[in-house]
């Protein structure tokens, strides 16, 4: 049986507001337990929530960026359930009238095509606190620092058809919220978390299969692995004659398996109703326009500009535009070097693999955009060859200074003096007289292969510094001659 996979995602993004969504407490991560919890965050009797305007602004910004309908009359609702780290016994969220309605986000697939993923809605809500189970010998500690941190929950349509597409969507969303400056995207600290709804159906079937929700997956890699393992579980189950039951499941990275948390029947009845402590939020047109004016250039526009302005391929443009930091880095390198294709190549390939190896993000890159741009200038003016450039790049990565300093110190300046190259070539040919004889005796086809040998010897003799173009030209002349 051919199976089709159907995936929809709920992404919880923590908004980078100065203070919490309904109180004046700070939202800094990692403070001593319960030091960032005010009377409101503690759910003290008699306290009341007051909505943080900055959170509303961020949500609207997001809505505009995904071309969504903005809920100009949106309402906060209470989601009622008991849990020790939920101080009021309810979470303030949005149910029927969210702040962001239907929108969409384009993702670039591996084959370079673009797919549009629907966003059903996005709503504002407050985060809960944390239960700490270690260090309290049989007891549970409650840290309410996180309680009341603003979250924007972004719900997608079931538009993704593979784990890879799902990851591409999360990456694109991750890039977008960072572009907008509304979320720091730090998945390790839980600033961006993902619930994955997964189902399968026989290819060609219109109705969806029964879905399972994998809760709280917090890295791109785990999202892919969790979804794939869940897909396989569902296929095995059905092919063995079983049935998928609607469930909430948890992914265990150690076993690479998902396991059941609770079934639909055990799910809470949250008894949603509009929060009487908060008035409906009315978003006026002027506010919308004001917010629209603050939108930065977003990945799709940036990608298109990179293609038209710099002549980059769709793939290269998509990759470079995928994060604001990378795009900024790239543009700086271009502005210094004046060569977009060369810049794209170096940023994506050499810098990419360096960052990968060191496990750092581009904003912590050991080689700065100024350094890289300066080095590309030296490639362009023939001071160094591409090959030498890799040595210079390594030097920059090791903190040896600018490209010019490294070229100077290590004497890597390319030899372009044709006299010097000629005499060096003479030495090489003399040392390889036998091969010269063979070359001259050989036919055109064989010569082609043998020519490379001489180039190699020549570059070796010059320690890579001879200008490869000149070497080629002079060598050819000497061998033919």
């Amino acid at each position: 049986m051919q199976w089709e996979v159907v995936i929809g995602l709920e992404i919880h993004t923590q908004l980078t507001t100065q203070s919490k969504i309904f109180s004046g407490s700070a939202t800094t991560f990692g403070s001593e337990p319960n030091t960032q919890a005010s009377l409101v965050d503690l759910g003290m009797p008699g306290t009341l929530p007051v909505l943080n305007k900055e959170a509303v602004q961020m949500a609207v910004k997001f809505g505009l960026a995904i071309d969504a309908e903005i809920g100009q009359h949106n309402v906060f609702a209470r989601k009622n359930y008991f849990y020790p780290d939920l101080p009021k016994g309810y979470q303030i969220s949005q149910m029927e009238l969210p702040i962001v309605g239907k929108g969409h986000l384009d993702i670039t697939l591996e084959d370079g095509t673009i797919k549009r993923i629907g966003v059903t809605r996005a709503h504002l809500e407050e985060d809960a606190g944390k239960s700490l189970h270690e260090d309290y010998s049989g007891m549970t500690g409650i840290d309410l620092n996180r309680a009341g941190t603003p979250l924007l929950e972004i719900v997608s349509e079931p538009d993704m058809r593979s784990a890879k597409e799902a990851v591409a969507y999360v990456k694109a969303m991750h890039a977008l919220v960072r572009y907008l400056g509304i979320c720091d995207g730090n998945m390790a600290e839980g600033s961006l978390r993902c619930d994955c709804n997964v189902s399968i159906r026989p290819k060609g079937q219109v109705e969806y299969g029964t879905r399972c929700e994998i809760k709280n997956v917090n890295s791109f890699r785990f999202i892919e692995k969790a979804i794939n393992s869940e897909i396989q579980r569902q296929i095995d189950l059905i092919e063995d004659g079983g049935k998928v039951i609607q469930q909430t499941r948890l992914y265990d990275p150690n076993t690479n398996e998902t396991r059941a948390m609770r079934s639909k029947e055990e799910a809470n009845d949250y008894r949603y109703f509009p929060d009487p402590d908060l008035l409906p939020v009315i978003i006026e047109d002027a506010f919308l326009e004001q917010t629209r004016a603050t939108l930065p250039e977003l990945p799709p526009q940036k990608r298109e500009r990179f293609q038209s302005q710099f002549g980059l391929s769709l793939y290269d443009a998509s990759v470079l535009a995928s994060s604001r930091e990378q795009a900024d880095f790239f543009e700086k390198v271009v502005s210094i070097s004046g060569d977009a294709k060369l810049a794209a190549n170096w940023v994506m390939v050499e810098l990419g693999s360096l960052l990968n190896k060191q496990g750092v993000e581009i904003d912590e890159s050991p080689v700065s955009a100024e350094q890289l741009g300066g080095m590309l200038l030296r490639i362009k003016d023939n001071t160094i060859s591409g090959k030498i450039a890799k040595m210079v790049f390594e030097g920059m990565a090791n903190g040896e200074g600018s490209a010019d300093e490294i070229i100077d110190q290590r004497g890597l300046k390319q030899v372009t003096d044709s006299g010097a190259i000629e005499s060096m070539l003479d030495d090489v040919l003399a040392a390889n007289a036998e091969q010269v004889e063979q070359y001259r005796a050989a036919d055109e086809a064989k010569r082609g292969k043998m020519f490379g040998f001489f180039v190699g010897q020549a570059m070796k003799a010059s320690k890579g510094k001879a200008n490869p173009g000149q070497v080629n030209e002079l060598l050819k002349r000497k061998l033919e001659g």
Partner: protein
């Protein structure tokens, strides 16, 4: 001294006839002597009162003036008071000392009032008889076998018994006006949003409103002046200028249009009360008012709608009392579920548990539309009724309650019978309108109240009408025997 109204106290203090400390000590002694009969206080804050009285006297000596400077009062025990037990008359919060002051408490303190204590009430403000308190029932000073009404029954009994001149109350379905009527007081529920709810432990957030309870409309004006105003901490408070309530008291009632709804005179109304209501209408006519029969066609739906909305909100508001962070926690919980079940089962009394269950049911999946949404629709209809009525009249007049105070225990077997006592008061909460109850006579020695309702933010008009009425009647000056 204890017979003085707030206005008289203000004049006495201004004329240096006595100090706030002398007055405070007199009243504290009176509370110690008489309150055991009434049970109107949960906590008497003697030390705080003396300190505040001395501070008020010092402020006055330094040249400060103000109608509330040095005025003694008490707060219903659901207003948070910093460092002082704030119990909501519940075992759940018997050990709870609030870490902050409610805005109402802070504003009145800033005006120089002296807090004598925290008054008894129905548990979490749920009741109309003040019988559901963890600290025992409050007695009506007019007849100690009778209830004082509720839920602000402690405030009502204490002021009626001249233990102090005024107190704060809260009104979710009649909890200021109904006990005021049953104890011969003047009580005002302001427009929803007029007084901050910050620090007022919530029963039903969309209905709760704090207000003053005193013996005269003039005193209610003084207290409301100290309570009303916008508060950034309460998103539902309204940024509307606060008028000078005392300045408007003496306006003439010439041409005032009074509407009397025909639906008010239904079978449930004690005929003695109906007669007293009509007598009050006659008195107002003599003052120049014109009277008109009006209709509030959806009145009959008010109680069912209220008993869906209020419990629904309460079921959520009271979720925070879970034994985890503050309040009562059961002994030796076996696990988390046991902790929740027993802490709440042992900490809440039966009426509170009943309303939590009703509310949770009304909000549950599959019932929400039929109950909660339907009730909200009725709420809109009731509001529309009032809007239509206020297009024709300036105030609406009727009985505050269908019956005078009943015997303690008389309605315990039938909660619905007690719910029906709020028949006339509940609509003002559902519509968010201001309402006032004023003394209008007696039925076999038990006080009877008349209720006035006005359009939004017309508290001044209510106080004006009541004050003018009190200039030509003396019901409000009568004190219960033995107090």
């Amino acid at each position: 001294m204890h017979q003085m109204t707030l206005a008289e106290i203000a004049r006495g203090l201004a004329d240096k006839k006595f100090s706030s400390e002398e007055l405070t000590r007199t009243l504290l002694a009176r509370i110690a002597q008489l309150d055991p009969q009434l049970n109107s206080f949960i906590t008497v804050t003697e030390d705080l009162a003396i300190t505040q009285a001395q501070a008020a006297d010092a402020r006055r000596a330094a040249g400060e003036t103000g109608a509330l400077l040095g005025a003694p009062l008490a707060h219903k025990d659901l207003f948070c008071t910093k460092g002082i037990r704030t119990s909501c008359a519940s075992k759940m919060l018997d050990n709870f000392k609030a870490p902050y002051d409610a805005t109402v408490v802070a504003s009145l303190a800033a005006a120089g009032t002296v807090t004598l204590g925290k008054t008894n009430m129905d548990e979490f403000a749920m009741g109309s008889a003040n019988e559901s308190s963890h600290y025992g029932a409050v007695k009506n000073p007019w007849n100690l076998d009778h209830v004082p009404g509720g839920s602000s029954g402690g405030s009502a009994a204490a002021v009626a018994a001249r233990l102090l001149p005024g107190a704060t109350g809260t009104d979710t379905g009649g909890s200021i006006r109904q006990p005021a009527a049953l104890t011969n007081l003047t009580g005002l529920k302001p427009t929803y949003g007029r007084v901050s709810r910050w620090g007022m432990i919530a029963y039903a957030s969309s209905l709760d409103q704090a207000g003053p309870m005193a013996r005269t409309a003039e005193d209610c004006a003084l207290l409301l002046q100290g309570m009303a105003g916008f508060d950034v901490n309460d998103s539902t408070s309204i940024d509307e200028p606060v008028p000078d309530y005392s300045a408007g008291l003496n306006a003439s009632l010439q041409g005032l249009r009074i509407g009397v709804p025909k639906e008010y005179f239904s079978a449930g109304l004690d005929p003695r009360i109906a007669d007293l209501v009509m007598a009050s209408v006659e008195a107002l006519k003599k003052l120049g008012a014109v009277v008109k029969e009006i209709s509030l066609p959806n009145l009959q739906h008010a109680i069912p709608a209220y008993y869906v909305i209020a419990p629904a909100e309460a079921s959520s508001n009271l979720s925070r009392f879970d034994g985890v962070r503050f309040g009562y926690r059961c002994e030796d919980p076996k696990d988390l579920t046991d902790l929740y079940k027993r802490s709440r089962g042992e900490g809440f009394g039966p009426e509170v548990q009943r309303r939590i269950m009703v509310g949770a049911y009304a909000l549950s999946a599959g019932y929400y539309d039929a109950y909660y949404l339907q009730a909200q629709k009725i709420r809109r209809l009731i509001k529309n009724d009032f809007m239509n009525a206020f297009a024709e009249v300036d105030v609406i007049l009727g009985p505050t309650t269908p019956n005078p105070a009943w015997k303690i225990g008389a309605k315990n077997a039938d909660p619905i019978a007690e719910y029906l006592e709020d028949f006339y008061t509940i609509t003002a909460n559902l519509a968010g309108l201001p309402g006032l109850s004023m003394p209008a006579g007696f039925a076999d020695g038990l006080p009877v109240g008349v209720q006035l309702l006005a359009p939004y933010f017309q508290e001044g008009r209510l106080l004006n009408v009541a004050h003018q009425y009190q200039q030509v009647t003396d019901w409000h000056t009568r004190s219960p025997a033995g107090f």
